[in-house]
Symmetry: C3
């Protein structure tokens, strides 16, 4: 399965044809802020880095340097993906341990951003818990280090990678999509495929909206028929829906909302059933946290869980799977899933469905380190194709 | 004291004569699952790596790659030993911070094992707290990453190193034994030496059995007279005692159990007095943790401490030391020790005894990073002698 | 702004003229224990390392090796500075997580120091909370690893870098001073400049004395007029004042104490207003912690805060700034500052003053990683000028 040198050279040639100059020294916030060429370049570089690693070819382009990680929400897989990506390229991860469940404020953020960045080449941030806050926080950090660089405080401007904000989760959805490209044998084969992004019941509360939003914001760019379904009140952000609509129009695909999981799953090629919190609840929650009203927060959680419980029938069962295209749609999840009868009594998916898709699910996750590495690579090299050719020709072994 | 190049070449030649092919891409669980050649190879590689480092010769064989550590019990020295070993070879440690004092369950373990391993070359695990659980957990991780590799999820199969389970503590006991080899001037000089592995009183409760088990399971392979002593009820696992007996028979040594510390120490060349919990208590404890019966756990702890207190006379005093061979047996401990009058009122050893053996104790500990590095090295290189020769010839400086 | 090769060669030439042989394999405790040549060498090496990094020239002199960090007090900026310095030189940071707010005791310290140092090239320690303890702790660690090295336990003796103790904060004050050298265009321009190190009100309690002590102990060496001001009872250590006096005499500068902030600020070229705890309070606090008297500790805190509150007028206002030299003295702070109206109601400095000096403040901080790297470099290379010439000639790229 290892790619040959000729295959890797061909991929680099494809990359050469893409315009990536705006990515150089820039940040990665939301997929919809990137051009089609830029999105394709991330996929291409990710695949090339993976192929080179599989061939034991080192892609260590940094001799030293730090990758700062800021996880304002707990994380295992994104944390390890970021660490893997940094390590692959030669950066050492230093975790900035900010207090979880606190909303960051302007001045302190600007100061800290500079203080940790004197030798930082990358900053990866996960801040997905508070509507209206995560992306704002990232923008503040980005601007602060830009100013620091302009003012001569920082010798290099660290590049920011969004490891999940309140709006988008680009490293997840791009890994998801690279999985689709590989699973279906090429991006061209995804045209016209129906993908059902649907809400699903989970006994937990307050899961971020960034995955469904990221999925409809990205998948609509490739001519797919993207369907969103959720119970009343579980809307995603209107702005992102607008983006999805425009993407679909431009790409020759479609975006529509349906009222039931059943309708969404019907003849779908791909299903992505996943829990998330209602936007309105997330807004209220942010406000209550800001105001320090912790009793009312508990109340909100209780109400939210009660409301969720009305929709326990929104779950990915074997019966529902049978209604998909030929009864064998590809099941996707960003993991960890709430699995009925395994991790909880009633959850997002039947255990038998989940188990059947274990290998594709793990493969889906396996792209994330490479997507992150590709984002860093494209932000650090003006001529990524040239640099990759150099690495391929040098062929220094990763394990000597 | 630095080894010359000729000496290192001689050691590599010895290594060349040992069959290590089964270690390649394999895990290290228990010393008794490894052949005599394999055990000797670990000692040999550890000594060669140490000699090369002392000569400022780099043994960095990984250009990038992660060493995942999972400490399900607190640890300072094993943590630093693992980090040192990984760093020496070129791997960066990423700690998987699982909640301490929780028993891990199947599916989650399998998923997490894959999720953290996309770029992992090694996984080091310490899980020694629950009888019947630690080794099982490691096996589950090992099988999960093997499946992941077979299924094309992982590009490389990370090698597992047991950093202490409920049954064995191979990196400790092999460091202990390499210390003996050096202290007595060669493994051949250990034949016929009497070693007393004895229980000793400590004011704490629930110390793992893996050190005494590991010691009797390993030291009996070299023709030594291994004696185990403990108060009634503090038995170690019967299976391991069986292994010790068979080892002793095969190696021309002996294994026996005696009823008192006095008998064990009598004419001993080496003494290893150390506290551990009764097997039955550890079993009950595991059950209570699983069932979430925390009140009964406290009860168990209280009863156990009361029982321990009956055996406060099981302590390594100056008087007892006088009864050993020429009054100067080598005192061993895996550290930290409970030192009477220093770290506790009454403990495992008199302060004057402990202090007299401070240098050998520290040296004993100093072998652990090299033992771990050797285990990794042998799992990663099919021709370890060839690779070491290459490194020796290249002689790239560690400090440039 | 990047230095040219010729400029870097000139700096290396200057370094060559300085006697640094006593720094080789030695520790860095207090600036006043270092000769003038040694202090100059730290500044010179810091500037050279910075210039080389700015020119994308790798200064990675370690192929592997650990930098152990011990933070017995919370820290973000010093933590990242140490990590950056280690990474720049090729060392991987491993944090020894000792319980914060505990006073370390002899035997355990000696054992742990050796146990974590088998492959450690550097140990960086911050222990600033307890008067009479921090420096003592560092000395114990230093002696323990020296003994370990002498006894053959350790193959290399890790060098100790004081990242802040109860007496001095050399990495901070040397970064501060390197900032002054650059800000005023050369150390020779600092002669005769008036610097006001003054106490300032903060709503927090128990800030260490090591910054004011470090400042008067260092800045007096360069012919400056150093003035210390604080409310009654907020004296710094008498020994350090003695050092300041002697330094001033030798350097042709002056050291004096004045009773008010106003007097200190008058015509000052540089002001450094900062809160600290009274020495006597810090002594009492240490005693109470040692005795485990936590109720009395709370009492002490309360009394101390009440006393602080009497001096709320000790704050760096715009009005005060106007009284400085030409109304534009350089404002300095080690960060984070307590900013009136921003981070607290009443604090050390007006927000408008702080904001006006944001860029110089960040630049001030930016020197710390290089100061730390320089201290390590000088402790590890007998001929630092030769080694730097080698690195400059090789000019291996940091980002390839």
């Amino acid at each position: 399965m290892k790619k040959t040198k000729a295959e890797m050279q061909a991929m680099i040639k494809t990359l050469k044809g893409l315009r990536t100059e705006n990515m150089y020294l820039n940040d990665f916030f939301h997929t919809w802020k990137e051009s089609d060429d830029e999105i394709s370049a991330v996929f291409e570089v990710a695949e090339i880095l993976r192929a080179m690693r599989e061939n034991n070819i080192s892609v260590k382009v940094f001799d030293s340097g730090l990758g700062i990680s800021v996880f304002r929400d707990n994380s295992t897989r994104t944390r390890f993906s970021f660490a893997s990506a940094c390590n692959l390229l030669g950066l050492e991860v230093q975790d900035l341990d900010e207090k979880v469940s606190q909303i960051a404020h302007g001045e302190t953020v600007r100061e800290t951003a500079n203080m940790v960045s004197f030798m930082a080449d990358v900053i990866g941030i996960r801040d997905d818990m508070y509507i209206g806050k995560g992306h704002t926080y990232m923008k503040t950090v980005s601007e602060a280090v830009q100013e620091g660089y302009n003012d001569g405080v920082l010798e290099q401007r660290p590049t920011l990678v969004n490891l999940q904000c309140d709006i988008d989760h680009p490293t997840q959805t791009m890994a998801d999509f690279l999985h689709l490209i590989n699973y279906f044998g090429g991006v061209e084969n995804l045209k016209g495929k129906k993908v059902a992004m649907t809400w699903a019941y989970s006994p937990s509360y307050g899961k971020p909206l960034s995955v469904p939003q990221g999925v409809i914001g990205l998948f609509t760019r490739f001519g797919m028929d993207v369907v969103l379904a959720h119970p009343e009140g579980y809307d995603v952000m209107g702005e992102v829906e607008e983006i999805a609509k425009k993407n679909a129009e431009k790409s020759g695909g479609s975006y529509r909302k349906v009222a039931t999981m059943e309708e969404a799953f019907k003849d779908a090629d791909i299903v992505y059933p996943k829990s998330w919190a209602p936007f309105a609840v997330m807004e209220e929650r942010t406000k209550l946290v800001e105001e320090g009203k912790f009793d009312e927060l508990k109340d909100l959680e209780k109400r939210c869980l009660e409301n969720n419980a009305k929709f326990k029938n929104w779950t990915c069962t074997e019966e529902l799977m049978k209604t998909t295209k030929d009864g064998k749609a590809l099941y996707m999840h960003c993991l960890p899933a709430d699995i009925t009868g395994l991790s909880c009594k009633e959850g997002e998916v039947d255990q038998s469905v989940f188990d059947r898709y274990l290998v594709p699910l793990y493969k889906q996750a396996s792209y994330k380190p490479y997507i992150i590495a590709a984002m860093i690579f494209l932000a650090k090299f003006k001529d990524p194709a040239g640099k990759l050719t150099e690495l391929l020709e040098a062929a220094r072994p990763r394990i000597k």
